[in-house]
Protein backbone atom coordinates (compact mmCIF):
# COMPACT_ATOMS: atom_id res chain seq x y z
CA UNK A 1 0.00 0.00 0.00
CA UNK A 2 2.68 2.47 0.97
CA UNK A 3 4.42 1.89 -2.36
CA UNK A 4 1.31 2.77 -4.28
CA UNK A 5 0.50 5.91 -2.32
CA UNK A 6 4.15 6.95 -2.64
CA UNK A 7 4.01 6.79 -6.39
CA UNK A 8 0.63 8.31 -6.99
CA UNK A 9 -0.15 11.89 -6.14
CA UNK A 10 -2.79 11.89 -3.43
CA UNK A 11 -4.99 14.29 -5.30
CA UNK A 12 -5.10 12.12 -8.42
CA UNK A 13 -8.04 12.95 -10.65
CA UNK A 14 -11.12 10.97 -9.83
CA UNK A 15 -11.33 9.41 -13.29
CA UNK A 16 -7.98 7.70 -12.94
CA UNK A 17 -9.33 4.19 -12.58
CA UNK A 18 -11.34 4.52 -15.72
CA UNK A 19 -8.30 5.93 -17.54
CA UNK A 20 -6.47 2.68 -16.85
CA UNK A 21 -9.55 0.81 -17.97
CA UNK A 22 -9.70 2.86 -21.19
CA UNK A 23 -6.03 2.24 -21.82
CA UNK A 24 -6.38 -1.52 -21.36
CA UNK A 25 -9.46 -1.54 -23.49
CA UNK A 26 -7.83 0.36 -26.35
CA UNK A 27 -4.76 -1.90 -26.21
CA UNK A 28 -6.41 -5.30 -25.98
CA UNK A 29 -10.04 -4.87 -27.06
CA UNK A 30 -10.02 -2.15 -29.72
CA UNK A 31 -12.39 -4.11 -32.01
CA UNK A 32 -14.58 -7.15 -31.34
CA UNK A 33 -12.29 -9.31 -33.45
CA UNK A 34 -9.03 -8.41 -31.70
CA UNK A 35 -10.94 -8.65 -28.41
CA UNK A 36 -11.73 -12.21 -29.33
CA UNK A 37 -8.08 -12.85 -30.22
CA UNK A 38 -7.02 -11.49 -26.84
CA UNK A 39 -9.47 -13.79 -25.06
CA UNK A 40 -8.32 -16.78 -27.09
CA UNK A 41 -4.69 -15.98 -26.30
CA UNK A 42 -5.46 -15.69 -22.60
CA UNK A 43 -7.33 -18.96 -22.65
CA UNK A 44 -4.47 -20.75 -24.40
CA UNK A 45 -1.86 -19.33 -22.00
CA UNK A 46 -4.02 -20.31 -19.04
CA UNK A 47 -4.51 -23.81 -20.39
CA UNK A 48 -0.76 -24.30 -20.92
CA UNK A 49 0.08 -22.91 -17.50
CA UNK A 50 -2.56 -25.10 -15.85
CA UNK A 51 -1.26 -28.26 -17.46
CA UNK A 52 2.35 -27.36 -16.73
CA UNK A 53 1.52 -26.79 -13.08
CA UNK A 54 -0.47 -29.99 -12.94
CA UNK A 55 2.42 -31.94 -14.37
CA UNK A 56 5.18 -30.25 -12.40
CA UNK A 57 3.46 -29.81 -9.03
CA UNK A 58 -0.06 -31.11 -8.40
CA UNK A 59 0.30 -34.60 -9.88
CA UNK A 60 4.05 -34.89 -9.32
CA UNK A 61 5.82 -37.45 -7.15
CA UNK A 62 8.70 -36.00 -5.16
CA UNK A 63 10.17 -38.95 -3.29
CA UNK A 64 10.11 -42.69 -3.27
CA UNK A 65 11.13 -45.60 -5.47
CA UNK A 66 10.59 -45.74 -9.27
CA UNK A 67 7.40 -47.72 -8.71
CA UNK A 68 5.81 -44.77 -6.91
CA UNK A 69 6.08 -42.78 -10.15
CA UNK A 70 4.57 -45.39 -12.42
CA UNK A 71 1.04 -44.78 -11.14
CA UNK A 72 1.29 -41.00 -11.03
CA UNK A 73 0.19 -38.81 -13.95
CA UNK A 74 2.62 -35.97 -13.17
CA UNK A 75 6.36 -35.49 -13.08
CA UNK A 76 8.60 -37.96 -11.32
CA UNK A 77 10.87 -35.67 -9.29
CA UNK A 78 11.71 -38.69 -7.21
CA UNK A 79 14.48 -39.38 -9.73
CA UNK A 80 16.16 -36.11 -8.75
CA UNK A 81 15.70 -36.91 -5.11
CA UNK A 82 17.30 -40.31 -5.63
CA UNK A 83 20.06 -39.27 -8.00
CA UNK A 84 20.97 -35.64 -7.26
CA UNK A 85 24.32 -36.60 -5.81
CA UNK A 86 25.32 -38.30 -9.04
CA UNK A 87 24.32 -35.23 -11.04
CA UNK A 88 26.14 -32.77 -8.81
CA UNK A 89 29.25 -34.78 -8.00
CA UNK A 90 29.59 -37.44 -10.72
CA UNK A 91 31.69 -40.43 -9.77
CA UNK A 92 33.38 -38.66 -6.87
CA UNK A 93 33.59 -41.14 -3.94
CA UNK A 94 30.31 -41.09 -2.06
CA UNK A 95 31.65 -40.51 1.44
CA UNK A 96 33.75 -37.57 0.16
CA UNK A 97 30.86 -35.74 -1.54
CA UNK A 98 31.05 -32.98 1.06
CA UNK A 99 34.44 -32.02 -0.39
CA UNK A 100 33.09 -31.67 -3.89
CA UNK A 101 30.10 -29.69 -2.56
CA UNK A 102 32.40 -27.42 -0.58
CA UNK A 103 34.69 -26.92 -3.58
CA UNK A 104 31.70 -26.03 -5.74
CA UNK A 105 30.38 -23.56 -3.16
CA UNK A 106 33.87 -22.12 -2.79
CA UNK A 107 34.03 -21.39 -6.52
CA UNK A 108 30.54 -19.94 -6.57
CA UNK A 109 31.58 -17.73 -3.65
CA UNK A 110 34.72 -16.58 -5.44
CA UNK A 111 32.72 -15.86 -8.59
CA UNK A 112 30.16 -13.94 -6.55
CA UNK A 113 32.87 -11.98 -4.77
CA UNK A 114 34.64 -11.02 -7.99
CA UNK A 115 31.37 -9.63 -9.28
CA UNK A 116 31.49 -6.96 -6.60
CA UNK A 117 33.01 -3.72 -7.89
CA UNK A 118 34.61 -3.16 -4.49
CA UNK A 119 37.10 -5.95 -5.24
CA UNK A 120 38.04 -4.75 -8.71
CA UNK A 121 41.74 -4.29 -8.23
CA UNK A 122 44.31 -6.45 -9.95
CA UNK A 123 45.94 -7.34 -6.63
CA UNK A 124 42.77 -8.22 -4.77
CA UNK A 125 41.35 -10.27 -7.62
CA UNK A 126 44.63 -12.14 -8.03
CA UNK A 127 44.75 -13.04 -4.34
CA UNK A 128 41.08 -14.06 -4.40
CA UNK A 129 41.46 -16.31 -7.42
CA UNK A 130 44.76 -17.89 -6.44
CA UNK A 131 43.25 -18.68 -3.04
CA UNK A 132 40.08 -19.93 -4.74
CA UNK A 133 41.96 -22.28 -7.05
CA UNK A 134 44.25 -23.50 -4.31
CA UNK A 135 41.25 -24.23 -2.09
CA UNK A 136 39.38 -25.95 -4.90
CA UNK A 137 42.28 -28.20 -5.84
CA UNK A 138 43.06 -28.96 -2.22
CA UNK A 139 39.48 -30.06 -1.57
CA UNK A 140 38.95 -31.93 -4.81
CA UNK A 141 42.31 -33.59 -5.15
CA UNK A 142 43.15 -34.17 -1.51
CA UNK A 143 46.20 -36.24 -0.67
CA UNK A 144 47.17 -33.74 2.03
CA UNK A 145 45.85 -32.67 5.45
CA UNK A 146 44.32 -36.09 5.99
CA UNK A 147 42.09 -35.81 2.93
CA UNK A 148 42.18 -38.94 0.83
CA UNK A 149 43.50 -38.59 -2.70
CA UNK A 150 40.85 -38.48 -5.45
CA UNK A 151 42.21 -38.68 -9.01
CA UNK A 152 40.94 -36.26 -11.66
CA UNK A 153 39.19 -39.07 -13.52
CA UNK A 154 36.74 -39.33 -10.63
CA UNK A 155 35.78 -35.65 -10.69
CA UNK A 156 32.43 -34.95 -12.23
CA UNK A 157 28.99 -33.44 -12.15
CA UNK A 158 28.07 -29.81 -11.67
CA UNK A 159 31.27 -29.17 -9.70
CA UNK A 160 33.36 -30.24 -12.67
CA UNK A 161 31.28 -28.24 -15.15
CA UNK A 162 31.75 -25.09 -13.11
CA UNK A 163 35.46 -25.79 -12.73
CA UNK A 164 35.88 -26.23 -16.49
CA UNK A 165 33.90 -23.04 -17.18
CA UNK A 166 35.87 -20.94 -14.71
CA UNK A 167 39.24 -22.28 -15.82
CA UNK A 168 38.30 -21.77 -19.48
CA UNK A 169 37.40 -18.14 -18.89
CA UNK A 170 40.38 -17.39 -16.65
CA UNK A 171 42.82 -18.79 -19.22
CA UNK A 172 40.84 -17.68 -22.26
CA UNK A 173 40.23 -14.05 -21.33
CA UNK A 174 43.90 -12.97 -21.06
CA UNK A 175 44.58 -14.98 -24.20
CA UNK A 176 41.75 -13.13 -25.93
CA UNK A 177 43.18 -9.76 -24.90
CA UNK A 178 46.60 -10.81 -26.17
CA UNK A 179 45.20 -12.02 -29.50
CA UNK A 180 43.12 -8.86 -29.94
CA UNK A 181 46.16 -6.65 -29.33
CA UNK A 182 48.41 -8.78 -31.55
CA UNK A 183 45.92 -8.55 -34.38
CA UNK A 184 46.19 -4.77 -34.14
CA UNK A 185 49.98 -4.81 -33.92
CA UNK A 186 51.84 -2.37 -36.15
CA UNK A 187 54.10 -5.14 -37.45
CA UNK A 188 52.14 -6.62 -40.36
CA UNK A 189 53.59 -10.10 -39.90
CA UNK A 190 52.49 -10.29 -36.26
CA UNK A 191 49.03 -8.95 -37.08
CA UNK A 192 48.64 -11.42 -39.93
CA UNK A 193 49.68 -14.38 -37.81
CA UNK A 194 47.30 -13.42 -35.03
CA UNK A 195 44.53 -13.01 -37.58
CA UNK A 196 45.32 -16.39 -39.09
CA UNK A 197 45.25 -18.07 -35.69
CA UNK A 198 41.94 -16.46 -34.70
CA UNK A 199 40.26 -17.21 -38.01
CA UNK A 200 41.71 -20.71 -38.02
CA UNK A 201 40.30 -21.59 -34.62
CA UNK A 202 36.98 -20.02 -35.47
CA UNK A 203 36.70 -22.19 -38.54
CA UNK A 204 36.95 -25.37 -36.47
CA UNK A 205 34.03 -26.86 -34.56
CA UNK A 206 34.65 -27.15 -30.84
CA UNK A 207 34.27 -30.92 -31.07
CA UNK A 208 37.19 -31.12 -33.47
CA UNK A 209 39.41 -29.12 -31.15
CA UNK A 210 38.42 -31.22 -28.15
CA UNK A 211 38.97 -34.46 -30.07
CA UNK A 212 42.35 -33.35 -31.31
CA UNK A 213 43.54 -32.43 -27.84
CA UNK A 214 41.88 -35.21 -25.85
CA UNK A 215 42.24 -38.15 -28.22
CA UNK A 216 44.70 -37.43 -31.03
CA UNK A 217 47.40 -35.54 -29.14
CA UNK A 218 48.10 -38.36 -26.65
CA UNK A 219 48.70 -40.69 -29.59
CA UNK A 220 51.07 -38.31 -31.37
CA UNK A 221 52.81 -36.95 -28.29
CA UNK A 222 52.03 -39.00 -25.17
CA UNK A 223 52.13 -36.97 -21.98
CA UNK A 224 52.13 -33.58 -23.72
CA UNK A 225 50.11 -30.77 -22.15
CA UNK A 226 49.18 -32.60 -18.97
CA UNK A 227 46.10 -34.64 -18.09
CA UNK A 228 43.06 -35.04 -20.30
CA UNK A 229 41.12 -32.53 -18.22
CA UNK A 230 43.92 -29.99 -18.60
CA UNK A 231 44.05 -30.50 -22.35
CA UNK A 232 40.30 -30.18 -22.67
CA UNK A 233 40.34 -26.96 -20.66
CA UNK A 234 43.15 -25.60 -22.86
CA UNK A 235 41.10 -26.44 -25.95
CA UNK A 236 38.01 -24.75 -24.54
CA UNK A 237 40.10 -21.71 -23.61
CA UNK A 238 41.58 -21.48 -27.10
CA UNK A 239 38.11 -21.72 -28.63
CA UNK A 240 36.70 -19.09 -26.27
CA UNK A 241 39.70 -16.79 -26.80
CA UNK A 242 39.33 -16.74 -30.58
CA UNK A 243 35.76 -15.43 -30.39
CA UNK A 244 36.34 -13.19 -27.41
CA UNK A 245 39.42 -11.66 -29.08
CA UNK A 246 37.26 -10.40 -31.92
CA UNK A 247 34.73 -9.02 -29.45
CA UNK A 248 37.46 -7.12 -27.63
CA UNK A 249 38.97 -5.95 -30.90
CA UNK A 250 35.64 -4.57 -32.03
CA UNK A 251 35.46 -2.70 -28.73
CA UNK A 252 38.92 -1.24 -29.33
CA UNK A 253 38.09 -0.40 -32.94
CA UNK A 254 35.01 1.54 -31.85
CA UNK A 255 37.04 3.98 -29.73
CA UNK A 256 37.87 7.35 -31.26
CA UNK A 257 41.53 7.56 -32.35
CA UNK A 258 41.88 10.61 -30.14
CA UNK A 259 41.83 8.45 -27.01
CA UNK A 260 45.06 6.70 -27.86
CA UNK A 261 46.61 9.92 -29.16
CA UNK A 262 45.81 11.74 -25.93
CA UNK A 263 47.40 8.92 -23.96
CA UNK A 264 50.48 9.01 -26.20
CA UNK A 265 50.75 12.77 -25.85
CA UNK A 266 50.85 12.34 -22.06
CA UNK A 267 53.90 10.10 -22.43
CA UNK A 268 52.19 6.82 -21.54
CA UNK A 269 53.94 3.92 -23.23
CA UNK A 270 52.11 1.15 -25.06
CA UNK A 271 51.23 -1.14 -22.14
CA UNK A 272 49.98 1.69 -20.00
CA UNK A 273 47.92 3.12 -22.83
CA UNK A 274 46.30 -0.27 -23.26
CA UNK A 275 45.86 -1.04 -19.57
CA UNK A 276 44.57 2.35 -18.44
CA UNK A 277 42.90 3.95 -21.42
CA UNK A 278 42.08 1.58 -24.27
CA UNK A 279 41.12 -1.77 -22.72
CA UNK A 280 38.90 -0.43 -19.91
CA UNK A 281 36.87 1.48 -22.46
CA UNK A 282 36.91 -1.36 -24.99
CA UNK A 283 35.57 -3.78 -22.36
CA UNK A 284 32.77 -1.39 -21.45
CA UNK A 285 31.74 -1.14 -25.06
CA UNK A 286 32.08 -4.88 -25.60
CA UNK A 287 30.14 -5.83 -22.49
CA UNK A 288 26.89 -7.06 -24.10
CA UNK A 289 28.58 -9.43 -26.58
CA UNK A 290 31.02 -10.53 -23.87
CA UNK A 291 28.14 -11.60 -21.64
CA UNK A 292 26.63 -13.51 -24.58
CA UNK A 293 29.95 -15.21 -25.23
CA UNK A 294 30.22 -16.23 -21.58
CA UNK A 295 26.70 -17.67 -21.70
CA UNK A 296 27.54 -19.59 -24.86
CA UNK A 297 30.75 -21.02 -23.47
CA UNK A 298 28.93 -22.01 -20.27
CA UNK A 299 26.63 -24.15 -22.38
CA UNK A 300 29.46 -25.41 -24.57
CA UNK A 301 31.11 -26.99 -21.54
CA UNK A 302 28.61 -29.83 -22.06
CA UNK A 303 30.62 -30.76 -25.20
CA UNK A 304 33.37 -32.26 -23.06
CA UNK A 305 31.06 -35.22 -22.54
CA UNK A 306 31.97 -36.34 -26.05
CA UNK A 307 35.59 -36.95 -25.10
CA UNK A 308 34.54 -38.84 -22.00
CA UNK A 309 34.58 -36.21 -19.32
CA UNK A 310 31.82 -36.63 -16.81
CA UNK A 311 30.30 -33.14 -16.64
CA UNK A 312 26.87 -32.09 -15.38
CA UNK A 313 25.00 -33.18 -18.52
CA UNK A 314 26.84 -36.51 -18.76
CA UNK A 315 26.06 -37.15 -15.09
CA UNK A 316 22.43 -36.33 -15.83
CA UNK A 317 22.40 -38.94 -18.58
CA UNK A 318 23.80 -41.45 -16.15
CA UNK A 319 21.24 -40.46 -13.53
CA UNK A 320 18.30 -41.80 -15.51
CA UNK A 321 20.19 -44.21 -17.76
CA UNK A 322 20.71 -46.97 -15.24
CA UNK A 323 17.61 -49.04 -15.88
CA UNK A 324 15.17 -48.44 -13.08
CA UNK A 325 14.81 -44.68 -13.78
CA UNK A 326 14.85 -45.03 -17.54
CA UNK A 327 11.37 -43.56 -17.95
CA UNK A 328 12.27 -40.32 -16.09
CA UNK A 329 14.53 -38.75 -18.71
CA UNK A 330 12.28 -35.73 -19.24
CA UNK A 331 12.36 -34.84 -15.56
CA UNK A 332 16.15 -35.08 -15.47
CA UNK A 333 16.53 -32.83 -18.50
CA UNK A 334 14.03 -30.32 -17.16
CA UNK A 335 16.02 -30.20 -13.94
CA UNK A 336 19.30 -29.75 -15.84
CA UNK A 337 17.72 -27.00 -17.93
CA UNK A 338 16.55 -25.30 -14.76
CA UNK A 339 20.05 -25.32 -13.28
CA UNK A 340 21.54 -23.95 -16.52
CA UNK A 341 18.82 -21.33 -16.58
CA UNK A 342 19.61 -20.14 -13.06
CA UNK A 343 23.29 -19.68 -13.93
CA UNK A 344 22.93 -18.06 -17.32
CA UNK A 345 20.00 -15.88 -16.30
CA UNK A 346 21.96 -14.58 -13.30
CA UNK A 347 24.87 -13.88 -15.62
CA UNK A 348 22.66 -11.85 -17.94
CA UNK A 349 21.13 -9.89 -15.10
CA UNK A 350 24.59 -9.18 -13.76
CA UNK A 351 25.56 -7.92 -17.22
CA UNK A 352 22.56 -5.59 -17.21
CA UNK A 353 23.56 -4.32 -13.77
CA UNK A 354 27.10 -3.63 -14.98
CA UNK A 355 25.80 -1.70 -17.94
CA UNK A 356 23.64 0.48 -15.70
CA UNK A 357 26.53 1.06 -13.37
CA UNK A 358 28.96 1.98 -16.12
CA UNK A 359 26.60 4.35 -17.78
CA UNK A 360 27.05 6.50 -14.70
CA UNK A 361 30.79 6.66 -15.26
CA UNK A 362 30.48 7.99 -18.78
Amino acid sequence: MSEVSGDLPLDAPAGRGSAVYDDLKSRFFPTPLSGLATLAGLALAGWILWHALQWALFDAVFTGPPEACREAAGACWAVIHARWRLMFFGLYPHEEHWRSALACLLFLGVIGASCMPRLWQAGRLAVLWIAGFAGFLLLMRGGVLGLSYVPQEKWGGLTLSIFIFVATVLIGMPLAVALALLRRASLPLVARLAGLLIDGIRSLPLITILFALAVVLPILAPGALGSKLTRVILGMALFFAAYQAEIIRSGIQSLPAGQEEAAKALGLHYWRRMAKVILPQAFRRALPPTISQLAIIFMEVAMVMIVGIFDFLASGNAAYGSGEWNFANVEVYVFIALVYFVFVFSLSRYGAYLERRMRVGK
Binding site: K264, L268, R284
Partner: protein
Protein backbone atom coordinates in the same frame (compact mmCIF):
# COMPACT_ATOMS: atom_id res chain seq x y z
CA UNK B 1 73.06 26.95 -24.12
CA UNK B 2 70.33 29.55 -23.59
CA UNK B 3 70.29 30.15 -27.31
CA UNK B 4 69.16 26.59 -27.97
CA UNK B 5 65.63 26.69 -29.42
CA UNK B 6 62.80 24.74 -27.83
CA UNK B 7 61.83 23.29 -31.18
CA UNK B 8 63.88 23.21 -34.36
CA UNK B 9 62.29 21.84 -37.51
CA UNK B 10 64.42 21.60 -40.60
CA UNK B 11 63.20 20.89 -44.14
CA UNK B 12 60.44 18.56 -43.04
CA UNK B 13 58.59 16.37 -45.53
CA UNK B 14 55.54 14.29 -44.66
CA UNK B 15 53.61 12.01 -46.97
CA UNK B 16 50.28 10.24 -46.51
CA UNK B 17 50.70 7.54 -49.13
CA UNK B 18 51.48 9.52 -52.26
CA UNK B 19 49.94 12.71 -50.94
CA UNK B 20 52.49 15.20 -49.65
CA UNK B 21 51.04 16.87 -46.58
CA UNK B 22 54.20 18.85 -45.68
CA UNK B 23 57.01 19.89 -47.96
CA UNK B 24 60.28 21.47 -46.87
CA UNK B 25 58.86 23.01 -43.71
CA UNK B 26 61.46 24.73 -41.53
CA UNK B 27 60.58 26.41 -38.26
CA UNK B 28 62.39 27.28 -35.09
CA UNK B 29 60.63 28.15 -31.84
CA UNK B 30 62.60 29.79 -29.03
CA UNK B 31 62.00 28.99 -25.38
CA UNK B 32 59.12 31.05 -24.07
CA UNK B 33 58.04 32.01 -27.57
CA UNK B 34 54.38 31.87 -28.62
CA UNK B 35 53.73 30.91 -32.21
CA UNK B 36 50.30 30.91 -33.82
CA UNK B 37 49.79 28.84 -36.96
CA UNK B 38 46.89 29.53 -39.28
CA UNK B 39 45.90 28.57 -42.77
CA UNK B 40 43.10 27.05 -44.79
CA UNK B 41 41.70 23.60 -44.08
CA UNK B 42 43.96 20.81 -45.28
CA UNK B 43 47.04 23.04 -45.38
CA UNK B 44 48.96 20.75 -43.00
CA UNK B 45 48.73 22.67 -39.71
CA UNK B 46 47.65 19.65 -37.66
CA UNK B 47 50.15 17.44 -39.42
CA UNK B 48 52.96 19.84 -38.54
CA UNK B 49 52.26 20.11 -34.83
CA UNK B 50 51.47 16.40 -34.56
CA UNK B 51 54.96 15.74 -35.91
CA UNK B 52 56.41 17.70 -33.00
CA UNK B 53 55.36 15.05 -30.44
CA UNK B 54 55.50 12.30 -33.03
CA UNK B 55 51.84 11.48 -33.24
CA UNK B 56 52.84 11.49 -36.92
CA UNK B 57 56.20 10.29 -38.20
CA UNK B 58 57.92 12.57 -40.67
CA UNK B 59 59.51 11.17 -43.82
CA UNK B 60 62.43 13.55 -44.39
CA UNK B 61 64.11 16.41 -42.58
CA UNK B 62 64.80 16.69 -38.86
CA UNK B 63 62.98 17.78 -35.73
CA UNK B 64 64.81 18.58 -32.52
CA UNK B 65 62.79 19.16 -29.38
CA UNK B 66 64.70 20.63 -26.45
CA UNK B 67 67.90 19.51 -28.15
CA UNK B 68 66.81 15.91 -28.62
CA UNK B 69 66.32 14.69 -32.18
CA UNK B 70 63.07 12.83 -32.91
CA UNK B 71 63.76 9.43 -34.43
CA UNK B 72 62.69 5.85 -34.00
CA UNK B 73 64.06 5.38 -30.50
CA UNK B 74 60.98 4.98 -28.34
CA UNK B 75 62.71 5.91 -25.10
CA UNK B 76 63.52 9.32 -26.55
CA UNK B 77 60.01 9.79 -27.86
CA UNK B 78 58.49 9.00 -24.47
CA UNK B 79 60.98 11.41 -22.92
CA UNK B 80 59.98 14.16 -25.32
CA UNK B 81 56.26 13.55 -24.90
CA UNK B 82 56.76 14.05 -21.18
CA UNK B 83 58.06 17.56 -21.92
CA UNK B 84 55.48 18.44 -24.55
CA UNK B 85 51.84 18.86 -23.58
CA UNK B 86 49.12 18.73 -26.19
CA UNK B 87 45.55 19.98 -26.31
CA UNK B 88 43.24 18.63 -29.02
CA UNK B 89 40.28 20.03 -30.84
CA UNK B 90 38.00 17.31 -29.43
CA UNK B 91 39.41 17.46 -25.86
CA UNK B 92 40.01 13.68 -25.79
CA UNK B 93 39.45 13.37 -22.07
CA UNK B 94 39.23 9.79 -20.85
CA UNK B 95 35.48 9.26 -20.31
CA UNK B 96 35.86 6.37 -17.85
CA UNK B 97 37.88 8.41 -15.37
CA UNK B 98 36.89 11.33 -13.17
CA UNK B 99 38.34 14.75 -13.89
CA UNK B 100 40.78 14.27 -11.04
CA UNK B 101 41.88 10.86 -12.34
CA UNK B 102 42.27 12.26 -15.84
CA UNK B 103 44.68 14.82 -14.43
CA UNK B 104 46.55 12.70 -11.89
CA UNK B 105 47.02 9.47 -13.84
CA UNK B 106 49.91 10.38 -16.13
CA UNK B 107 52.00 12.12 -13.44
CA UNK B 108 51.57 9.06 -11.22
CA UNK B 109 52.48 6.56 -13.94
CA UNK B 110 55.01 8.50 -15.99
CA UNK B 111 56.53 10.85 -13.44
CA UNK B 112 56.13 8.34 -10.61
CA UNK B 113 54.54 10.90 -8.30
CA UNK B 114 52.82 9.53 -5.20
CA UNK B 115 49.04 9.68 -5.47
CA UNK B 116 48.58 12.41 -2.88
CA UNK B 117 51.14 14.63 -4.52
CA UNK B 118 49.71 14.06 -8.01
CA UNK B 119 46.18 14.77 -6.82
CA UNK B 120 47.25 17.91 -5.00
CA UNK B 121 48.98 19.11 -8.17
CA UNK B 122 45.90 18.21 -10.21
CA UNK B 123 43.72 20.29 -7.87
CA UNK B 124 46.19 23.16 -8.20
CA UNK B 125 45.90 23.16 -11.99
CA UNK B 126 42.14 22.65 -11.90
CA UNK B 127 41.96 25.77 -9.77
CA UNK B 128 44.07 27.56 -12.32
CA UNK B 129 41.62 26.72 -15.07
CA UNK B 130 38.87 27.60 -12.57
CA UNK B 131 36.97 24.32 -12.26
CA UNK B 132 38.18 22.69 -9.03
CA UNK B 133 34.57 22.02 -8.01
CA UNK B 134 34.18 19.57 -10.93
CA UNK B 135 37.07 17.34 -9.85
CA UNK B 136 34.97 14.30 -8.97
CA UNK B 137 32.68 14.43 -11.99
CA UNK B 138 33.12 12.51 -15.22
CA UNK B 139 33.95 14.29 -18.51
CA UNK B 140 30.51 13.51 -19.92
CA UNK B 141 28.97 15.65 -17.19
CA UNK B 142 30.87 18.80 -18.23
CA UNK B 143 30.27 21.40 -20.92
CA UNK B 144 32.63 21.60 -23.89
CA UNK B 145 34.40 24.65 -22.54
CA UNK B 146 34.87 23.00 -19.17
CA UNK B 147 36.17 19.82 -20.79
CA UNK B 148 38.73 21.75 -22.79
CA UNK B 149 39.92 23.56 -19.67
CA UNK B 150 40.30 20.18 -17.98
CA UNK B 151 42.29 18.99 -20.99
CA UNK B 152 44.61 21.96 -20.55
CA UNK B 153 44.95 21.23 -16.83
CA UNK B 154 45.65 17.57 -17.59
CA UNK B 155 48.48 18.52 -19.92
CA UNK B 156 49.88 21.02 -17.41
CA UNK B 157 49.95 18.38 -14.66
CA UNK B 158 52.87 16.77 -16.50
CA UNK B 159 54.77 20.09 -16.02
CA UNK B 160 55.58 20.37 -19.72
CA UNK B 161 58.10 22.80 -21.13
CA UNK B 162 56.20 23.20 -24.38
CA UNK B 163 52.45 23.24 -25.04
CA UNK B 164 50.89 22.39 -28.39
CA UNK B 165 47.31 23.42 -29.17
CA UNK B 166 45.46 22.09 -32.21
CA UNK B 167 42.41 24.29 -32.79
CA UNK B 168 41.44 24.14 -29.10
CA UNK B 169 38.34 26.30 -29.51
CA UNK B 170 36.93 25.27 -32.84
CA UNK B 171 34.72 22.48 -31.45
CA UNK B 172 33.21 24.85 -28.88
CA UNK B 173 29.98 26.79 -28.86
CA UNK B 174 30.77 30.49 -29.34
CA UNK B 175 29.92 31.45 -25.75
CA UNK B 176 32.53 29.02 -24.42
CA UNK B 177 35.44 30.11 -26.58
CA UNK B 178 36.52 32.98 -24.38
CA UNK B 179 36.74 30.93 -21.17
CA UNK B 180 39.28 28.65 -22.88
CA UNK B 181 41.17 31.52 -24.51
CA UNK B 182 41.42 33.28 -21.14
CA UNK B 183 43.18 30.25 -19.71
CA UNK B 184 45.55 30.16 -22.67
CA UNK B 185 46.34 33.86 -22.37
CA UNK B 186 47.13 33.39 -18.69
CA UNK B 187 49.40 30.49 -19.57
CA UNK B 188 51.17 32.60 -22.19
CA UNK B 189 51.78 35.36 -19.64
CA UNK B 190 53.55 32.86 -17.39
CA UNK B 191 56.13 32.31 -20.10
CA UNK B 192 55.10 28.90 -21.44
CA UNK B 193 56.46 28.01 -24.86
CA UNK B 194 53.35 27.64 -27.01
CA UNK B 195 52.55 26.53 -30.54
CA UNK B 196 48.87 27.10 -31.32
CA UNK B 197 46.95 26.21 -34.41
CA UNK B 198 43.99 28.56 -34.21
CA UNK B 199 41.87 30.90 -36.23
CA UNK B 200 41.18 33.11 -33.21
CA UNK B 201 42.87 36.18 -34.58
CA UNK B 202 42.18 38.24 -31.47
CA UNK B 203 44.14 35.70 -29.47
CA UNK B 204 46.96 35.78 -32.05
CA UNK B 205 47.17 39.59 -31.83
CA UNK B 206 47.19 39.50 -28.04
CA UNK B 207 49.77 36.81 -27.27
CA UNK B 208 51.65 35.70 -30.39
CA UNK B 209 55.26 36.60 -30.93
CA UNK B 210 54.96 35.30 -34.47
CA UNK B 211 52.10 34.29 -36.71
CA UNK B 212 52.69 31.65 -39.37
CA UNK B 213 50.53 31.21 -42.41
CA UNK B 214 50.52 27.75 -44.04
CA UNK B 215 49.07 26.71 -47.34
CA UNK B 216 49.33 23.42 -49.22
CA UNK B 217 51.91 21.92 -46.92
CA UNK B 218 54.31 24.85 -46.87
CA UNK B 219 54.91 27.89 -44.69
CA UNK B 220 53.94 30.85 -46.84
CA UNK B 221 54.53 33.72 -44.47
CA UNK B 222 55.96 34.32 -40.99
CA UNK B 223 55.62 37.68 -39.29
CA UNK B 224 54.96 39.34 -35.92
CA UNK B 225 51.21 39.85 -35.47
CA UNK B 226 51.38 43.61 -36.15
CA UNK B 227 52.95 43.15 -39.56
CA UNK B 228 51.01 39.95 -40.27
CA UNK B 229 47.60 41.53 -39.86
CA UNK B 230 48.51 45.10 -40.85
CA UNK B 231 50.60 44.42 -43.88
CA UNK B 232 50.57 40.81 -45.14
CA UNK B 233 53.07 40.32 -47.93
CA UNK B 234 51.58 37.41 -49.83
CA UNK B 235 48.45 37.40 -51.87
CA UNK B 236 47.35 34.06 -50.40
CA UNK B 237 47.71 35.39 -46.85
CA UNK B 238 45.64 38.42 -47.74
CA UNK B 239 42.91 36.29 -49.27
CA UNK B 240 42.86 34.03 -46.22
CA UNK B 241 42.80 36.91 -43.75
CA UNK B 242 39.98 38.67 -45.55
CA UNK B 243 37.96 35.47 -45.24
CA UNK B 244 38.75 34.80 -41.59
CA UNK B 245 38.40 38.40 -40.45
CA UNK B 246 35.15 38.85 -42.35
CA UNK B 247 33.28 37.04 -39.57
Amino acid sequence: MTAQPAIRIDRLDKFYGHYQALSQVSLSVAKGEKVVICGPSGSGKSTLIRCINRLEEHDAGTIDVLGTPLDDRTAQIDGIRREVGMVFQNFNLFPHMTILENCAMAPMLVRRQPRREAEAAAMHFLEKVRIPEQALKYPGELSGGQQQRVAIARALCMRPTIMLFDEPTSALDPEMVSEVLDVMVALAKEGMTMVCVTHEMGFARQVADRVIFMDRGTIVETAPPGAFFGNPRHERTRAFLSQVLAH
